[in-house]
Every structure is written in C-alpha cells, then in structure tokens.
C-alpha cells in the first residue's frame, strides 16, 4: 500500500513535446536570472540615486520597492522553471506539475501588477519633477 498521493491524470507527452517543455524550463531559468539582476540593479540604484541627489526620497523608495518586487518575480519564475522541469522529467505526475506551474505563473503575473503600479507612480513623479 502506497501512502503517497496517487498520480493524477497526466499529459501524454512524446519525446518531441518534452523538448518544448524543457525549453520552457530553460527559458524560465534565463528570465529568472535577468529578473534577479534587474531587481538587484533597482535595489542598488534607488538609494544610490537619492545619495547622489538624482532623485527624491520618495522616488528612491519606490525604486527600491520596485527592485524588491522584481526580485520576487525572479523567485516566482524560478518556481515555474522547476515545475516545467519536473513536468518533463516525471510525466506520471505531469498533471500536478502543470497545476503547480499554473499557480506559480498566476503569482508571477499578480506580482507583475504590483510592479506595473509602482512603475506608474515613479513615472508620475518623473512627470511632476
């Protein structure tokens, strides 16, 4: 008797289709790296811009928040990358991995709403300056 969760319905992936899934995983990993770099750049640039007198305190804070959210986007995308990697590697659980990927992608896009709102605020500040 197995005590683990029984595999749910799976996607019958062929070897060619697994390559598409693997491509998603590798692209998501690349996007993860870029998002983390962009987030780090924004986290540094916010306070540095204020220190150098380029932006106001509020704009610097918003840039810092934008950087933190962008870095979080990177982490969400890392989870998506793992989900798709597992989806290709363990087809018997592919339905569950697809569900997890969809949930993590939803989180990714929801956080993107936050990033867009913060960016809109920064643009308004830039316009007023």
């Amino acid at each position: 008797m197995s005590t683990g969760a029984a595999p749910k319905q799976t996607l019958p992936l062929t070897s060619d289709q697994k390559q598409v899934v693997a491509k998603i995983a590798s692209t998501a990993l690349l996007v993860t790296g870029l998002l983390l770099v962009l987030g780090l750049v924004q986290i540094v640039a916010g306070p540095l811009g204020w220190w150098w007198g380029k932006v106001s305190v509020f704009a610097a804070l918003l840039t810092l928040v934008q950087g933190l959210l962008t870095a979080f986007l990177g982490l969400a995308m890392l989870a998506v990358s793992s989900d798709f990697r597992y989806l290709g590697e363990y087809p018997q659980y592919s339905g569950n991995h697809l569900r997890n990927a969809a949930r993590n992608l939803k989180v990714f896009y929801q956080v993107q709403i936050g990033v867009a709102v913060v960016l809109a605020l920064i643009i308004v500040l830039r316009l007023a300056a």
Binding site: A28, V31, L34, T63, K106, I113
Partner: protein
C-alpha cells in the same frame, strides 16, 4: 507521430507572424500620426503635413492588402518602406549634421526633431525587417496566400495523429489554469497601459532633456513589449480551457505560446536594466 510538434510550431509561427505584422504596421501608423500632429502645431509645412497624411493612409492601405495575402502589395510595400527609410535617413543626416538650423528639408519631410527621426527609423526598420527577412511575417503572408508549403503545414496540424490524443485535466488543474487565464488578461492590459503612459511621458520630456526623454521612451517600449509578451499565451489557453474534449494539440499550442512569451521577456528586461543604470549616470 513526429510530425505533430513541427506542425504545431508552424502554426505557432504563422500566428506569431500575424501579431508581428500587425504590431509593425501599427507602429508605423502611430509614428506617422504622432509626427504629423506634433509638427502641425510645432513646425507646420504643407509638404510635411501632406507627406505624413499620405504615409499614414498608404501604410493602412498596404497593410490591409498584405493581410489578405496580396502578392503585388508585398512588392509595393517593400518599395514604399525603402523610400521612407531613405527620406528618414536624409532628414536625420541633416538634423544630426553640423548646421541643421540652415536647412528646412527635414521639416518638409515631416521630421522637425531628431527624436522623430529616430522613432520613424525604428518603426520603418522594424517593418522592413518583417517584409524583407525570411521569418514569421513572410510565413504568415504565405499562409494567407494559401501557398502549398504553408497550407500543408496548417493541414498537418489539423490531421496529425497526435492532435486527437485526449487530455483529461482534474478539477484542481482546470481551476488553476482558469485562474491563470483570468490573471493574464488583466495583467497584459495594465502593463500595456503603463508602457504607453511611460512612452507618452518620454515624448513630453524630450523637449526638456533629450537623454531623459529617450530613456523614458526606451523604458516605455520595453514595458509595452512585456505587455505584448503576456498576451501571447492567452488565446491558446482559452482554446484549451473551452475545448471539449481537450487534446494534446491544444495543450502543446499553449505550452509553445508560453515558451515564446517567456523568450520575449529577455530583450525588454535587458533594456530595462540598461535604462536604470544609464539614469544613474545622466
């Protein structure tokens, strides 16, 4: 069995080609309209205004003909785009030269400032790349014409044995995909709106400072690019969710669109990082 992924990719290419074609046509149209409106209030000349209006009308007409796969329209569009690129390069050459104030030629070509020239150059270069380079857009035109290869590719998608392979999703899996579908639509609209706003602010700020304005324009274009990337998987995901019964063809169409969408994040993210760094040193 090996035909299915290739055929799906062909179908995806045609779909992406259609989107790229529409984006490039509207890019040119918006650029021409913007330059004409700005120049009417800023540096009015009859020749410049007429050229702007004619350019906007011609691109709409040619775009319409191209969309239905008209082969002569492709040749006419290539000639027209090449001509426009030459005119833009002449105007930019004068504006960026040593004595731009002494020449009225750029204004007569509907370009009164360098930023207009750069915008037009980007828009027409993008359209030229779509028309001249083999790729998604030319595949789309071929499919619209009903050329043998493209037609066979589409037919292969419809008849491939793998397409009938059923996909049975559990309730929680369907709900997760439905929630994702709802989120995608809202996010794409918001991100596109913020990108458009950034673009407008950049155009407004370019009068105060060219560098600051240009950085905002690049940032705006990158954000619009991200918004466009978010849209890509919407349609295939919707098709997968509404289909009964669901097939592997639909699931793979969604996954392929998602792969394209994620790949489309790369260039805007690099551009955004470059903008943040450049802003520090301006």
């Amino acid at each position: 069995m090996a035909m299915a992924p290739t055929s799906e990719q062909q179908s995806q290419r045609i779909d992406l080609g259609q989107r790229l074609f529409l984006v490039s046509v509207f890019g040119v149209l918006v650029t021409e309209a913007l330059a004409t409106i700005v120049n009417i209030g800023h540096a009015f000349t009859w020749t410049g205004t007429l050229l702007g209006i004619v350019s906007a009308v011609v691109i709409l007409y040619l775009g319409n003909r191209l969309f239905v796969g008209d082969r002569p329209a492709l040749t006419a569009s290539r000639v027209w785009v090449a001509l426009e690129l030459v005119l833009v390069l002449i105007a930019l050459g004068i504006l960026l030269g040593d004595t731009p104030a002494e020449s009225s030629i750029p204004v007569h070509l509907n370009i009164s400032a360098a930023w207009q020239g750069w915008l037009k150059l980007a828009a027409y270069a993008g359209f030229a790349a779509a028309l001249f380079l083999p790729g998604f857009v030319l595949d789309f035109f071929a499919a619209q014409r009903g050329d043998a290869a493209a037609g066979a590719a589409v037919a292969a998608v419809e008849t491939a044995p793998i397409s009938a392979e059923p996909v049975t999703l559990a309730n929680d899996q369907t709900q997760a995909l439905e929630a994702l579908n709802g989120t995608l639509k809202g996010v794409s609209a918001l991100v596109l709106a913020v990108g458009g706003f950034d673009l407008l602010v950049g155009l407004f700020n370019i009068k105060k400072s060219t560098d600051v304005g240009l950085l905002s324009i690049v940032e705006g274009l990158a954000v619009v690019g991200l918004g466009a990337a978010v849209i890509l998987p919407c349609q295939p995901l919707q098709a997968l969710l509404t289909a009964t019964p669901r097939t592997m063809q639909q699931a793979m169409a969604f996954l392929t669109a998602l792969a394209t969408s994620l790949a489309a994040y790369v260039v805007p993210l690099v551009a955004l990082a470059a903008v943040v760094i450049l802003r520090l040193f301006l």
